[in-house]
Symmetry: C2
Subunit: 193 residues, 2 copies
């Protein structure tokens, strides 16, 4: 490895972070649809080629800027599946309702859904971190005998993520204090007595 490439890495990381920050600021100021790669490049003080070297386009860049830089903390382990699912829902609510994320999410997911290549990576990018956390929670619940071993984890994940995305992102409902508790209860014990 040449000293040149070693010296270059920190500057490269600064450029990378500056592009992500520029995207986040533009979305907060003007919305997702009107934020273009050209505008992000200008705001970050780089050429468009510096962006297309790193990302396939705006959706992947915005996904990285808004949904990969948050520390999720340890996996909830509160002794019951209902408490753990509620804690997971709470973390997702916080992530989806962060100002730039709330603005970008509907248009960003529509862009991912409309492109077959991007759609194919949705489960591995957007959903992978929460699926992995949910897997740990469900394994502990299975060992405790709270749930069976036939849980369709992808469908439960889509139900939780879909409920939060639809409620907050599409409908724009406010985040009430009991939202996570109510959603956690629907998922774990359902609506019947």
């Amino acid at each position: 490895m040449s000293s040149n490439s070693r010296a270059g890495r920190p500057r490269d990381q600064r450029t990378h972070a500056a592009i992500l920050d520029a995207a986040e600021h533009l979305i907060l100021e003007t919305g997702y649809a009107t934020t273009s790669v050209t505008a992000i490049a200008a705001r970050a003080g780089v050429g468009k080629d510096a962006i297309y070297r790193r990302w396939s386009g705006k959706p992947e860049l915005v996904y990285e800027a808004l949904f990969t830089r948050v520390d999720l903390g340890p996996v909830p382990d509160e002794g019951t599946v209902e408490a753990d699912v509620t804690a997971l829902v709470e973390a997702l609510i916080a992530e989806f309702s962060a100002p730039a994320a709330a603005i970008a999410l509907p248009g960003l997911l529509a862009d991912f859904a409309a492109d077959p290549k991007l759609r194919a990576v949705l489960r591995d990018s957007f959903l992978a971190p929460v699926k992995s956390r949910m897997g740990e929670i469900f394994e502990r619940a299975r060992v405790r005998g709270e749930i069976g071993d036939d849980i369709a984890i992808d469908l439960v994940l889509d139900t939780i993520a879909g409920a939060i995305f639809f409620h907050l992102g599409i409908l724009g409902e406010p985040v009430t204090a009991d939202l996570a508790t109510r959603l956690g209860a629907i998922i774990t014990t359902g609506i019947t007595r």
Copy 2:
């Protein structure tokens, strides 16, 4: 009423239907994002003013074309809340996975969510028919003692609609034979034993 306005009405209805049909065909052929009011007007053989007299723009027009012309049939009444919710989920799956609807839904909902005026009518337009059906189902379940009288109907509705929209519309998962049964079970009895 003049004979002139009487004679004009059927032609007006034909124009209205031709515009809705043109929108549906263009979405099937080219997708939602690239379907413009200009293209819909040209395809229907009308001026753009004929469209803007009837709708505020593309989102409201596409919503009417794809989501108001389906006959929902009678409200499910199969004796248990789980069977009724499953039937409701089945009808929503059919509606959301119809070819043009599946193509348009992510972009259409993103357009509704991004415009404060449109977002404000989402619950009264998109969700009103299914909420009314769910209200009947829950009232019968309450009388049978299956559910309490403290069910947050809007949140249950958002959970069901969000789960189906996210699973099919965003992730593009296939409609499996047991999807409605599994989702109906998650909502009514939850994932715990």
